[in-house]
């Protein structure tokens, strides 16, 4: 293995972890974009997506059906949570809402423990086969699935928020709820859609990333933290920014481990976060 294959291997490792961070960051941004709220339960939707898919495929359901069913289950849970737990306190302070999302996160984790127990589960890759080797560096085929699905999801989100009246209405609700409601837009409906979207994308992230990991009921904690950091680096409300930040985070971690030392990977990530918060508080990729 020569130096070039090294550098490429670090690139592939970075893309692998970065894709996980990016998808979670997107699901966080969706909820934030539509309701100005950071949902700390996104990690749990990730776990529900992954474990639902694993359970459904183990029951003999074909992969594509299990995939959509797993996402749909979380969409339903997200909608239900918004209606029953978030809607009644919608008008209260941001602090209250955040505490509520933390409580929801813990409750969902407990629910996952009851349903799936403590053991770790494995999901087979979507397509079988040896990893791809490029200049001596290996890349798992599942990573191509993750990157492909991430791009597809981004296109759908972009189209929804930019081109459909419902998406534009949701953005309006987030920017100026009073103004939007005066224009006849239902703020409640918009918030419901945001939660459904957020939960769905969180679950999608779990379902597509599961073959790379070993999933148990606590597996949502790490993606949630790193997704949140990616979201902060990319700019709280920017979908494209947080995706880029997710991949950047993965690459920074990977190259730090490969070229400097594995001891410093977290230190450098947090230093990057601090620098962005000080010098580019609106996000690394924001225009202002």
């Amino acid at each position: 293995m020569n130096d070039v294959s090294h550098i490429i291997q670090f690139l592939f490792s970075g893309i692998t972890t970065g894709s996980i961070y990016a998808l979670i960051a997107v699901s966080l941004v969706i909820v934030y974009k539509a309701s100005q709220l950071i949902c700390f339960a996104q990690g749990e939707f990730f776990v529900f997506g992954a474990l639902s898919m694993i359970t459904l495929t183990s029951k003999g359901l074909p992969m594509p059906i299990a995939f959509f069913a797993a996402v749909f289950i979380s969409v339903c849970i997200g909608s239900l949570i918004q209606q029953v737990l978030i809607k009644p306190i919608q008008g209260s302070s941001v602090g209250n809402l955040i505490v509520m999302t933390i409580a929801i996160s813990l409750a969902l984790r407990g629910l996952a423990l009851i349903i799936w127990g403590r053991e770790s589960y494995i999901l087979n890759p979507y397509t079988k086969g040896e990893p791809l080797f490029v200049f001596g560096a290996s890349l798992q085929i599942q990573v191509l699935w993750i990157v492909g699905i991430t791009i597809l999801v981004l296109l759908i989100i972009w189209y929804f928020f930019e081109k459909t009246s419902l998406g534009i209405a949701m953005r309006a609700c987030a920017e100026n709820p009073l103004g939007a409601s005066l224009m006849g837009i239902s703020v409640q409906k918009s918030a419901l859609f945001a939660w459904a979207w957020g939960a769905g994308i969180g679950a999608l992230a779990g379902a597509v990333v599961a073959p790379l990991l070993f999933i148990q009921y606590t597996s949502g904690v790490m993606p949630m933290i790193k997704g949140f950091i990616a979201m902060s680096i990319g700019g709280l409300g920017s979908i494209a920014g947080s995706v880029m930040a997710g991949f950047l985070l993965g690459l920074v971690e990977s190259y730090t481990i490969g070229l400097i030392s594995s001891k410093f990977s977290d230190t450098i990530v947090f230093a990057l976060l601090m620098l962005v918060l000080i010098f580019r508080p609106n996000g690394l990729f924001s225009k202002s």
Binding site: Q9, L113, R118, E119, S120, V221, G258, S262
Partner: protein, 382 residues
């Protein structure tokens, strides 16, 4: 109907407020505290330990208790956190008045419980990689084999196979430091060169960057002192990178949960273990065989699965406390500590225990075996 419902409710509350112990309180009972990781990232192994402790207590009570006095196990969840472990240890000591404690699942958790055990002078039998220093921890015993024994067991195999170049991939934290220190301590004796060391975060979703770096060092084997998912992840990433060398992991992986995790991975994994994992490979004159077979049978009957490394650690912990109680015939924790320390040549599942004032582990390297996995089953590597 309404009266019946009220009666059931009152009965339910009465049972939950006055647990089984209060009946036993009327007579004499020996209370043992159990500290298990039942939630959090170590919960997959905490459950094995709790089940084994409960079974062992049940078997001892069925056989008439200790000189006619029954045992009672009071257990709590440490949520895989040292802080919580410290709190529940305090509760067991000051509120539940236990005579001894058993359990804990990791080096930091054992450390937290050790300070409580020493401060309040309660004999405690832990089961983790924590190395008991009797000068510092006089009330602590450990039924988990010393990390040194696990490393020596594997290094003997490496020597036999002519493996001389070893790379370390250690988790960030005390466990990784322990593994690294012990590997370096014995490397020279077994003519092994440590060609390099990398670190990784146990929560990382990918370690191919570290493994790519390790590959350039041309090791003949990789050693990571880690347990469960991270160990399985490394094995999977090694296969992905075509790094076809044996992969040595910690003895905490000798359990069916790990076997399931690595079922589809082709990396050659080496797991040091207690003899409990391979009773059929033991000779009939092995002093541990009888206890292993007996406990395994009861474990199969109650839980429909054989006992594993973690079950054996806890079964032995309870056994040693019981042996101590039989000797002292009193519930005085200080006398009990002395009695346990006095145990010599006591065959149990993890080995033949001989404690001394300087050794509170009691077992020796020959009490361990090395395992590998072939077609989803534990095998002895040739």
């Amino acid at each position: 109907m309404r009266k019946l419902a009220v009666f059931i409710l009152i009965a339910f509350f009465a049972i939950s407020i006055f647990p089984a112990g209060s009946y036993a309180q009327a007579q004499k009972v020996y209370k043992i505290g159990g500290i298990f990781s039942l939630t959090g990232y170590l919960s997959w192994l905490g459950e094995y330990k709790k089940k084994a402790a409960e079974l062992k207590v049940e078997l001892i009570n069925k056989a008439g208790g200790i000189n006619g006095i029954p045992l009672q196990l009071i257990s709590y969840d440490d949520t895989s956190s040292p802080e919580q472990a410290s709190k529940v240890a305090q509760r067991l000591i000051s509120k539940d008045n236990v005579v001894a404690m058993a359990g804990t699942a990791s080096v930091p958790i054992s450390g937290a419980v050790a300070s409580m055990a020493n401060r309040y002078k309660i004999p405690t039998i832990i089961n983790s990689g924590y190395a008991v220093d009797t000068a510092k921890d006089p009330f602590l015993f450990n039924t988990s084999h010393k990390t040194d024994f696990a490393v020596v067991t594997a290094f003997r195999y490496f020597q036999k196979k002519g493996i001389t170049k070893l790379a370390l991939l250690m988790p960030i934290g005390p466990l990784g430091e322990l593994g690294s220190n012990v590997a370096r301590k014995y490397a020279q004796e077994y003519k092994i060169t440590i060609v390099g060391e990398e670190k990784f975060d146990v929560k990382a979703p990918d370690v191919t960057s570290q493994l790519a770096k390790i590959r350039t060092m041309n090791p003949q084997a990789v050693f990571s002192f880690t347990t469960g998912e991270p160990a399985a992840l490394i094995a999977r990433n090694m296969e992905q990178l075509n790094l076809k060398v044996p992969f040595l992991v910690s003895h905490g992986n000798a359990n069916p949960g790990f076997l399931k995790l690595v079922a589809n991975i082709n990396t050659e994994i080496l797991v040091p273990s207690g003899k409990v994992m391979k009773p059929d490979a033991l000779s009939d004159n092995d002093p541990t065989k009888k206890k292993i077979l007996e406990f395994n049978k009861s474990h199969m009957e109650k839980y429909k699965e054989p006992a594993n490394y973690f079950s054996a650690e806890l079964a032995d912990a309870i056994d040693l406390i019981v042996e101590g109680l039989k000797i002292t015939k009193s519930a005085d924790p200080v006398k009990l500590r002395d009695a346990i320390e006095g145990i010599k040549n006591y065959p149990a599942m993890q080995g033949v225990y001989t404690f001394t004032a300087k050794d509170h582990h009691g077992t020796k390297p020959d009490d361990m075996i090395l395992l590998t996995i072939k077609q989803g089953k534990w095998e002895i590597p040739k």
